[in-house]
Symmetry: C2
Subunit: 200 residues, 2 copies
């Protein structure tokens, strides 16, 4: 035996396709599943197989949702004049958890990254521009990661959106994260914190 | 929205039950799956749901197999007088890959670990003793990890099996791994390599 039985080998290769999972980790997953009762496996398998049955993309914000429009876009109490642009659905959840934002969202589905071959055409940029045409949007918040791909995308979107009259384009503040130590803060963060200082 | 849609949330919690997978990793898995075509998800889900349909435990070696006895125990060309005792199915594969062992196996299903509450009763120790009664076994090789749990298990099994007449109990050699550097080898490994030295 230089291979596992076919059913085990097949499932190992399926798990190994997941991001960050190699063959050894996939083997651990499969042997862990083999120690579980059959009905737990059936429930797990069914959750994967039927994942997309109830999940669709919201036509407005392009987030994953069970309804179209999603319950955030359909919520009339939210401010529709502000759109917060994020890269991925997880970011919407992160911002919602702060309970400080009451506007709407737009999920790009990624970031512009020439090295990875991701251009604005593969993102929902055109749909964002379309949304700006129809509604009375006053502000677009670029809530993207302050890293290479995020900065590239913000640069691109700023150029694109600044052309529109009566539209403010903002980005998230850069500065010291809560609980950090000046002594161990990197130079770029500290210089951003200095240049973005506010009167108390 | 402070939670994902139900189908996403459910699958995240399913993935988070796997060993070494936290909520964040589970989220990455699920959003990766959402970007895949539906038929790939159905195939993945079906592989999990039907995992145990074709997989059983071999009645002799207790390894996972598609047949009982498994194709190793059923192979008449292999030496049935030697049993190699391993902790888990992955170890059988590791030894088979060396192509130097032609005997049979016995999968314990774990290691004796009082701290984790694992006693010999939860392992296939009784079945091993039973195998020794019926067949003309001449040697039992304890191929267990040279760590705390492995050493405990070897100590226990050695005491148990040494009582039997005409049975040799051996363990894997301890010494320098291939490609290692004497200078950076820990004291225990080096002293094991010294005491186990062989004439060339």
């Amino acid at each position: 035996m230089t291979r596992y039985p076919a059913a085990i080998q097949n499932l190992i290769s399926q798990f190994a396709k997941l991001p960050g999972v190699g063959t050894k980790t996939a083997e651990r997953f499969v042997f862990n599943l083999l120690s579980q009762p059959s009905d737990a496996l059936v429930a797990f398998g069914s959750a994967i197989g039927h994942l997309k049955d109830t999940i669709k993309r919201c036509g407005q914000c392009h987030n994953f949702a069970e309804t179209d429009p999603c319950h955030l876009c359909g919520d009339r109490s939210r401010n529709r004049q502000v759109i917060c642009v994020v890269a991925k659905p997880q970011d919407v959840l992160a911002i919602e958890k702060t309970s400080t934002y009451q506007g709407s969202y737009h999920v790009l589905g990624g970031l512009v990254d020439p090295l990875e071959g991701i251009s604005p055409k593969q993102l929902t940029v055109a749909a964002l521009v379309e949304r700006l045409k129809t509604n009375g949007i006053s502000e677009v918040i670029l809530a993207l990661n302050p890293d290479m791909a995020g900065e590239t995308t913000m640069l691109y979107l700023t150029k694109l959106l600044k052309q529109r009259p009566n539209l403010t384009v903002t980005r998230l503040a850069r500065g010291l994260p809560t609980g950090s130590d000046l002594e161990y803060t990197d130079e770029v963060t500290l210089s951003n914190a200095l240049s973005g200082r506010r009167e108390v």
